[in-house]
Symmetry: D2
């Protein structure tokens, strides 16, 4: 199949990087004289992704979000990384990539679903409280899931949102989206007649959006920090291999339900 001709399409350019014989430039800044040794990794992530330098308060909040999301134990992602790394240890990148592909709709998609609700609430001319109540009522009526709310284990409250909101207050970073999320939480408790906790992915959506991160790239932050978490699992797999235990245990837990002649 050939690439479709699209004469109306503008030729794309890149604003990210270029180089000369003497240096590399990232978004017009010299890598060697303006970035290395001047920026933390977190600041560089924001600069690379959004093309602007974060404030100290934004960096503190983004650090907090990245620390919160990095590690969740032996999740499906971590198990996939361990299984694939120990099957092909010559290609560590493939083991990490395998686990990273589990950052999809089931676990992290709720961050994006919550972001959509927050955008809808913030942009509603009726105001945040009225919009939050309407959203809660619509979800209850349609029996739709509430992305960013509920946790099977942490009840009545997930401790991570509490900590993140407290930090945001301290850093003067509690803005419109955190306000919208808190209003939605209050509306949900009222409409459903019971307390449903804000969970970590819901809180992180609001915190990052209050740092100016666009909704459509939120998942990217989850990918960066989960990548670091998965490298930690690779390191542990190098020292304490678990692949054969995962294999044997899973095989035993999911028995064959057919019939073998003579068996």
């Amino acid at each position: 199949m050939s690439a479709p001709k699209a004469t109306k399409r503008a030729a794309p350019t890149t604003s990210i990087a270029t180089h000369t014989n003497d240096d590399i430039y990232i978004r017009d800044k010299s890598l060697c004289s303006e970035l290395i040794g001047k920026l933390s990794f977190t600041e560089m992530i924001v600069f690379q992704m959004l093309g602007r330098m974060p404030s100290a308060a934004e960096t503190a909040m983004i650090d907090a979000c990245l620390v919160t999301l990095m590690e969740h134990g032996l999740t499906p992602s971590a198990l996939a990384t361990r299984l694939i790394y120990s099957s092909a240890p010559e290609a560590m990148q493939a083991g990490v990539a395998a686990g990273l592909m589990g950052v999809g709709s089931v676990f992290v998609g709720t961050m994006e679903g919550n972001a959509q609700l927050l955008l809808e609430i913030v942009e509603d001319p009726a105001g945040i409280e009225a919009a939050a109540t309407r959203v809660a009522q619509e979800h209850r009526a349609a029996r739709k899931p509430l992305p960013g709310f509920g946790h099977h284990l942490h009840k009545p409250d997930d401790p991570r949102p509490i900590r993140l909101f407290q930090l945001a207050e301290e850093h003067g970073q509690s803005g419109t989206y955190i306000a919208a999320l808190k209003a939605l939480s209050a509306a949900i408790d009222a409409v459903y007649g019971k307390h449903i906790t804000i969970n970590a992915t819901g809180a992180i959506a609001a915190v990052l959006m209050d740092c100016g991160v666009p909704a459509e790239i939120l998942r990217g932050f989850a990918l960066i920090t989960r990548c670091a978490g998965l490298v930690g699992h690779v390191r542990e797999e190098q020292e304490k291999p678990s692949m054969r235990t995962i294999w044997e245990t899973s095989e035993a837990a999911i028995p064959y339900d057919g019939t073998v002649p003579g068996a």
Copy 2:
């Protein structure tokens, strides 16, 4: 195929994470009260991966390495990420994972090859200078490539190692492995009779090893920061799509060399 029985194998455990109803614990520290808001992302990466808190000087050097490696322009990895992201935008994780898989022997493997040379030099009872000369002579005699040395563009010197070594001096982090790399560089210039630059991957291997990072997990740092770089390319692809340009241009540059009847 069933998992091979291995009765002699010890049952594996994990030291990374656990949780209670009230909190998550990572390496015995409370996520909510001891980590979120207390650690930068870089400190958390080291804590997760190596199980110990880095010193301020180590954090500064690891930040510098991560900033150095994040972005290299429209590399094969970045192109793969853009091609796959724009083919399946519903799965950003797959686009990032596709590019991450390019972090293999050709581009980043030199970091690990260089680390092996440094380990060999540091452990040689003959001393660093003698060992460096021997390694240089052996490589010249066998016409073997010198991992961590040479750059097709940055001549006579890659500016990144110079900057990293200067920072290491400032932070009191210029240790055995940087010393070994400098000795090897001097030996190579003498043995080959010309100056061959230390390149960025070579320098980063030495800097990270002087921060206590084991050689076998070095590639993990490249994966973490390239992941962030690739998320930046996803963000730009969302705003300035390039997939069809890469497709059309490549198709035109790699013509069909067969014969079509009637054409």
Copy 3:
């Protein structure tokens, strides 16, 4: 995060494979005495995936679909495979996996979108013609894209559906779904007042569904045959490396739009 407890959930089993000391059994058949040497690869694919042996006519049609979809030239998927394979040739699996991840909504999703339309038409109590007209009218009114219809190059008709439908006739495999697709095509031409070709992915959805393939696993057939196509690109990349050409060409086609001081 711990796995949520779900006491109501039934323990899963597998019906795919087991083994004894003497043989492997796949869906209760002996691999060595009943499958190897008795089944073609295509028959084995159906047996593995659906748990039943296809008829000769079904095998012929599935072969035709797999042959049709295998290769499309230097597509984004093939380019990603070549870029990643040549960056990490020690991990051929990663190069193939990178390209495979391009089998997503933009290129193959139309097969699944078309399948949904066909299911809707077939299940409509109003009958196929009335349902097809309704679907065409609804899409026109809402200016919605028509999955399975249209091709930027092959006009007035994509030659692949014509060939596939002719083969289905010959093998007595032209059933309900092909009928629904033809009815939809006629309705579209009438409603839109112009001829819009059925494309290859649309035709393949109908052909595979007439072979009894459930709509939700259709993409799996695309994955299997694209995997084979991508292995062909790896083989050509081994003999005629193209990675650096793709890289240089793309870099030149997507210029840096920033300003470098002094440049």
Copy 4:
């Protein structure tokens, strides 16, 4: 980083596919009039990959190899596919790709290691028997693993090689490489003083090489048929979800070995 200039490098071309407005051409044959409906999937795989049509006997043997390697139960690859598919069901391609990345050195690398031994034996001017004895003696003396030999479960003999060699005889496809493998097997039994079975990957290396498949693309056949096997696991995961069982079971089998304050 810019693509290195390489003026001596020939501009690459492709021999795989092109198209006109009326048809697609694969290796100079019309997709619609010469391939669809004329070739089985297996024949098309060989034609795409090697640029020549296989004989009927070669097709039979390649079918047998693909059938043999497709499915091995709940292996690390299949578990990774199930974990990732159920984490991101909107991206089936990512689930399949995750499992495919487990086709690396640990499980399939033995096919390639065995192929190297066979090439060495066949090319030895001393003749196959003498070369086989030398290879066996060298491996014993160096205590090196014997790729393609040994199986933890199937003793004294893996039933799959027996079946494949018998089929090769029937089809007149038992050539130099199968002869070399049998000679090596006899030499190993003599040198080690005990019977060590040829295993499935060893046999398949020899069978495919006797069909003219180059050693460096052998892994590609494993990738194609494992891809089909993994799609079968996706289909079963759609009907009988196992992700949470794998997760819970593995978490219980790999306990946290740290200490939580107050726990």
